[in-house]
Symmetry: C4
Subunit: 202 residues, 4 copies
């Protein structure tokens, strides 16, 4: 699979970065990048490993349903169940990189505003791809669940092209973008925004 | 003692990791790994040293009572008194690795819920070995004390095979697992869960 | 431009430092140093890049209006719009280094005290260039905006020579000094002071 | 001065450590070690430097009054005014290492309990040199001031041989011990205890 080695290397580096921030405790969270469009192929971090210690090989190629495809170096590897949601997000949003991290501020905000977290008139919204003024941004919150079809439907129902993030209540945060770097920058800005929200409206 | 050098190296690396997280301030906390089953032998970090600066030699072999055995490179080394509780936990739970760290969120939670800290419907519970839904997890809390037999009895009374952790009130947290990596992942997930609990129910 | 390479190197190093503190999430914030007096020339960090990964080349030379001058290695580079405020601060205050970082405590304090944040009788004020006793320091707070002329006017109106900082509400903090090191030390001390203020008067 | 180079190296390493913890923001704080007993000579970190970037030369030898002695490599170096309090603490307590750091939890606690911060029945008190049970520890709090004689008198009035720490309100924390390592361990444990106190009694 073309670009897989490079993708694996990038996913390992990004994972180590998020792990150092405390956003991927244990083996939690997963990242993906788009390898090909039609049919859709994503490289997703392997399930069950310490996200601070991944190597370029700790990656699985999945299709739009999050199922490992046969044509890859290690087709026996098991992707996270959440790979299916990555696939859904990539397909619906067109994103080429999806980041799923267990950001504390995101679950604290969802606990307080289960109907969606509203952010407005904050400069950091620009780093999330929105305007700093007069532009109400609502980060959708969906209930947690293990059925990725249900979660995917909830995502799709809440999806707006201008809001590249989703909070899964009592679970964590999904953020996406045109590449891993954009997704990272959006995730970092959104974490700051959610922390500000939770702290300032305590 | 077979495997001792490897155990010492692993314990030093894990300790440095926890120290960097601020979970082993001063010389606090201790880690152990099982070296042999019958009779039970544990390698425990040496008492009184900076946990961020251990070497592979800073380890003592103890029996099920936490007493240093004569047959080891440095039988004169003094294990922490808490080695006895490590022995008890290893014997009762069957764990091969026990982690004792002074996690702030664990003592804050115990202060608030001295009868046990209840966690439910949180994704991170999976990283602790439980279900994300409809599975009430109660982290036992026992009062602090210096008599390890009393502490061990309190642990045993509160022990449930499906709950690999114990909070000692106004002291810290014990977490265990099949190896140091599993114990680490459980400890990281539990810290996140306790922090969420304390922050969200403030 | 004389000193540009050295300036670029220093700006990259300082940016990485602030990024590690979490004060430059995403691509947020920007730093500048004075290269020449008449006409005023500043080296400013390039817009849109990860502030933890800048190189010595990621720098633009701007004039007092924050406009890139033609005489530089890469005149096509686009400075941040905020470069104009850097220019204004440098011109008005005489500072040779301006630091703009998105410090959480600064926006939390501005949210609570939108008319200005008062600090008094705190030892850390010495590190900010003021007295530790009987010297009321008011950090000005101005509303956020995208028109740098309006922001600059608000800055100038609030400017006092003995108070080398400005909070832009719901945005972040500007701090300045005689060089990057002095600006850093003032920024670090002010962050500590604002955190103390927010935490102690909760 | 015998041992000066070694002392300078140790002070630089310890300072970098505290700076990384955020306890020596700007150029704040200072550390000292005893070089000789009669007459008392201390090596103290030089004033006005970034505590994360000290070298082994950034040290001044002072007498019991905190005055630089002539017999040293760089007698022109200016010690911090606080060197005088280091001298007083060393003389009165017999400590061979004194650590002065601007720990946030210490000033928050002093703000709340200006008559002294009481700690009891906490395991971490053992790391501070006290008992984990039934042993009321009161960390003295004295008002901030710039006259080191006044501060020294307040210290001496509050001094108890079994309580190796002092909080200067709205300023920071002094901790001491038999060497830099013991002082560090006590400082780390006390920071944890003060954080617990502030967080749990919010």
């Amino acid at each position: 699979m073309e670009g897989l080695r490079e993708a694996g290397r990038a996913l390992a580096a990004e994972s180590a970065r998020y792990a150092a921030l405390g956003w991927m405790r244990g083996t939690s969270g997963n990242l993906s990048v788009r390898l090909r469009d039609e049919p859709l192929r994503l490289a997703v971090t392997t399930s069950g490993l310490d996200k601070g210690e991944l190597t370029e090989d700790d990656v699985v190629v999945v299709d739009a349903d999050g199922v490992a495809v046969p044509d890859q170096p290690h087709p026996e590897k098991v992707p996270s169940a959440e790979a299916r949601l990555h696939g859904r997000i990539a397909a619906v949003s067109g994103a080429a990189a999806v980041v799923h991290v267990h950001v504390m501020a995101s679950v604290l905000a969802a606990e307080r505003w289960p109907g969606g977290v509203e952010l407005i008139d904050l400069e950091m919204l620009k780093g999330f791809g929105r305007a700093a003024h007069d532009d109400l941004v609502t980060i959708p919150v969906v209930p947690n669940g293990q059925d990725m079809r249900v979660l995917g439907d909830a995502f799709e129902k809440s999806f707006r092209a201008d809001t590249p993030a989703l909070i899964v209540a009592r679970h964590g945060l999904y953020v996406w973008g045109a590449d891993l770097l954009q997704a990272r920058h959006r995730a970092e800005c959104l974490e700051w925004l959610l922390r500000f929200k939770v702290e300032s409206e305590r």
